[in-house]
Amino acid sequence: MSIDLTFIGQIVVFLALVYLMRKHLFGPMSELMAARAQKIADGLAAADAGTQARAVAEAEIAEQMKEARVKASEILASAEKRAAEINEEALLKARTEGEGIVDAAREEISAELGRARQALREEVADIAMLAAERVVETELDAKRHAELIDGIVSTGFGNA
């Protein structure tokens, strides 16, 4: 056991080895491991951010779906209300038109009836005139004359 020149040589070898290991092995490996660790950390952070973004998006979707459902139900209620109104309006209009048509038909029937009565009166008058002419022309007796007039009147006015 002695300290001699080997000691100096060992210091040189040791310090040179420290320098070489730092430059060629520890340094590159340490940098590589740090870069990989950073990459993994970035990936995990991105995954966390993605998970959070997904949760936020799902919450937004749920909120929007809720709003859409409310809006859809409002639209549906409004449409049903409008349909009922339209139906009511159409019914009212149809009823009004129907009543108008019936009234017009009644007026027309009444006018037609008046015209028919007028025509019948004119025809009865003509027949009466004709009958009177025949009575005068043929000189019927009073009894026959009365029967004839009654027959004409019953025939002519019976339908009036």
Partner: protein
């Protein structure tokens, strides 16, 4: 090259392959086995680093990259747990210390005489393959760390460090007129405390590995030199000790690394006001 004589017994296996540059000065010698082993291991680590650097992939690691990433991650975590601030030099230093010591200690699990006997075939009188058994290597690493600690102490908090050297621990405990007299005592105690750091760091590693080697030699001499039963027993005892010593080697590498980080961490601690 002056060779040490081959002595018998365990002591004969505890000599280094030495080249003496000055016979009269014991410092002027080099342990060639220690230098050769550390250079081979260091070169191997460097070649492996270059090879792995060209094969690094960004994606999922596999094979050697996967293994080394686990080692690098372990060292980085250890440094982060113990260090108050970021210093880009500390983790590579701790990594090099851990891997370098662990690799050299692992050589100790080879059979006790194998490397020495192979070296003998090439005319080498002594060869000790585990460089951490030579105090020069643990001391070199410990002194390097100690110098680095002093550098950061003076760089980051020079006034505080000098104040600690002169004022702690007795200055605040004595009356004002005695303060100048206790400062040298404080300085001596503080120097002892500081010098104890590299000493304990180096001697802990050296002592553990040296003792492990001696036990290997004891097992070899006591059991393998006997009859067949003794040899079989010696083989299994040696194998068990190898497994245990492998664990000790890794543990010592970790202890050296963690103490290095702790000492440097103390040097980086911010000054409390």
């Amino acid at each position: 090259m002056a060779e040490q004589g081959h002595e018998g017994g365990i002591a004969g296996h505890l000599h280094y392959w030495t080249i003496k540059l000055d016979e009269s000065n014991p410092f002027m010698q080099i342990h060639l086995d220690t230098m050769l082993v550390t250079l081979i291991v260091a070169t191997g680590m460097f070649v492996f680093a270059l090879w792995l650097k060209g094969k690094l992939v960004d994606g999922a690691p596999a094979g050697a990259q996967n293994f080394m990433e686990s080692v690098v991650g372990f060292v980085e975590d250890t440094v982060k747990d113990n260090f108050p601030v970021h210093n880009p030099l500390i983790a590579p230093l701790a990594f090099t210390i851990f891997v370098f010591i662990a690799l050299i200690n692992t050589i100790d699990v080879l059979p006790a005489f194998m490397i020495g006997d192979i070296a003998h075939l090439f005319g080498v009188p002594h060869f000790r393959p585990v460089a951490t058994n030579d105090l020069n290597l643990p001391a070199a690493m410990a002194v390097s760390v100690f110098v680095l600690v002093l550098y950061y102490e003076f760089k980051l908090k020079p006034v505080h460090f000098c104040k600690e050297l002169l004022m702690d621990p007795f200055t605040n405990l004595v009356p004002g007129f005695l303060k100048p007299f206790v400062m040298p005592i404080n300085l001596i105690l503080k120097l002892v405390e500081e010098i104890a750091k590299p000493l304990s760091l180096s001697f802990r590693l050296f002592g553990n590995m040296f003792a492990g080697e001696v036990i290997f030699l004891l097992i070899a001499f006591l059991l393998l030199s006997g009859g067949p039963v003794s040899m079989v027993a010696g083989f299994f005892v040696g194998l068990g000790w190898s497994m245990f010593h492998l664990f000790i080697g890794l543990l010592q590498a970790f202890i050296f690394m963690i103490l290095t980080v702790v000492y440097l961490s103390i040097a980086h601690q911010p000054v409390e006001h």
